[in-house]
Symmetry: C2
């Protein structure tokens, strides 16, 4: 069956109406639909409509409240806490974003601890509007254990993605967004399905022994990227999105989760920095652009996010090709 | 020749008097001697007395001002800028630290851009006192190009270390501190000296081609750890300690540097976070300790810094064994 070409607006409508069909109100559904649509628009298929059944599962199970009203509380001049009251993360983020931006614009740096949210998407959509306001930003989130701590044998950390964004006035921001595991669990699943081995250094079996068999890794755990260094970064993510903000570590989220196929309740940690105040002048943008030029000067390099922006330009013009298998799944929900 | 056992105080005296002999005043010399002594005390030999000839070289060349008086300026409620006026970084850090801690305690998060400094040490000594004040903290610094951007062939990034610390009231903080290159340049130098090959994936030759020959890597460049992921983090370090604070990128520092064997002028980026304000209560420590217990539960794991603290306990009792070669070099300065 051929892929179906859908406009970005049509993707948004499909996501929103589907979520509303299962109990989300317009605001909650709209925020999640925005995130799903951004992913499809930018070619990040694994975070697009593909996730809709997972979102719906948590609405059906009642784990997520589709009518939640996030509350925003200033805990200190540079701390804007958002409590999602069990909403999906994009809705909570939308509720707090303006206050985060304002605090960072005033104080120079500000942090937004997000508690009581369910994160099931990429991190770059969370940073783009913050960067478009002229701020650099960082975000991280934990999930459920699937990565072993360096030297250990059992999963304790989530795939714990981190993202960092740099504003580029007049252009789309530079944002990198990466799991701190060597490989995504989904990629291991694809290899298992297709019968391909996995390179060494990606995962371990249920006993914690290194293996290249994707089926064994699925029963076991993944490794952090870059050995003990990536493992330390993954630990930092646990601390920032766990104890720092008063939300679950990955192992706590898993214990509490009802495994309905959707994201567990957890926290998200974001901070934003105002380079104009930190540097004391407006020269940061020209300075950084000169640095980016130095990167591009070398053949074979690119900036993180370049491919997303190329996809975006194309898809806004031509529409997005969506797999009929995913559309069938959504229709059958 | 046997190693000489020196007390921690004797190491401090030697470092301080040597720096003062070459024009540093008591304050500047004392701050650097503190950092050198912490490194020797904790078993980080490559950042201890071994670095003293490099510090002295920059005093002799006049690149570093051994009588500088760093100035501290509050640029915004959560921004404490320190201008070192060409001092060594430890002195500037000491000048600004109390203001950084105060800003973070008040605002919840605060950043300390350090400009006009020369950084030639590990990062963990910069964070320890901040963490002991009950704050989490992050630091990074660039240097001179020795790492290629992912996909490229020529060095553009420094080895760009990052450090993150988490306070543990009643205990020494957890602090990790790591270069974002796969391997330190010094380790490649040791392999070249001893005639050992270097594992694949560590470096490239002068034409940007992968090689395992340490001599070729020394003429060429290193890779970031963990492939494109580590490369993105190294780029973030360049942005934070360069354009963000109004200081040099690594490639700018190298152009300006006179290559006297000591550190170039550059910047350092530090921020501190108050978990009590970000979380809204004091539960963060107990929560994090439970998480650390989960790590330790697994045989083979440890927390970053554990080895340093073991060395510290031992060396404070027994003194530190110092190589006679280093002591001769210092005596001959």
């Amino acid at each position: 069956m051929a892929n179906k070409v859908m406009s970005v607006d049509a993707i948004h409508d499909l996501a929103k109406t589907t979520l509303m069909k299962f109990g989300a109100d317009a605001e909650n559904a709209g925020a999640v639909a925005d995130t799903i649509t951004m992913a499809e628009r930018d070619g990040c298929v694994s975070h697009g409509l593909f996730r809709l059944p997972g979102y719906v599962a948590t609405l059906k199970s009642g784990k997520v409240n589709g009518e939640a009203r996030p509350t925003v509380k200033t805990l200190a001049p540079a701390v804007v806490q958002v409590n999602g009251h069990n909403c999906f993360a994009p809705h909570a983020l939308k509720a707090g974003r303006a206050s985060l931006i304002e605090a960072a614009k005033t104080c120079g740096i500000a942090v937004m601890p997000m508690i009581g949210v369910h994160h099931f998407a990429a991190l770059w959509p969370d940073l783009e509007e913050v960067c478009d306001a002229g701020l650099a930003a960082f975000a991280c989130v934990n999930y459920k254990p699937s990565v072993i701590p360096a030297g250990g044998k059992k999963a304790l950390y989530g795939t714990n993605p981190i993202a960092f964004g740099w504003p580029r006035p007049g252009k789309s921001p530079m944002i990198f967004d990466m799991a701190t595991s060597v490989m995504a669990r989904g990629e291991v699943g694809v290899a298992a399905r297709d019968g391909h081995p996995i390179p060494e250094g990606v995962g371990v079996d249920a006993d914690g022994n290194p293996t290249t068999d994707p089926n064994e890794i699925l029963k076991g755990a993944l490794l952090a990227f870059g050995g003990y260094k990536g493992s330390s970064i993954s630990m930092m993510v646990e601390l920032l999105s766990g104890a720092m903000i008063g939300e679950s570590f990955s192992y706590e989220a898993a214990v509490r989760d009802i495994a309905d196929g959707g994201p567990p309740q957890g926290g998200q940690f974001i901070f934003a920095i105002n380079p104009t105040l930190v540097r004391g002048d407006d020269g940061w943008s020209e300075h950084a652009e000169g640095f980016f030029d130095k990167i591009y000067e070398q053949d074979g390099t690119r900036l993180p996010g370049d491919r997303r922006y190329q996809n975006r330009a194309k898809h806004l013009e031509t529409g997005v090709e969506v797999s009929p298998i995913i559309l069938e799944k959504i229709a059958g929900l």
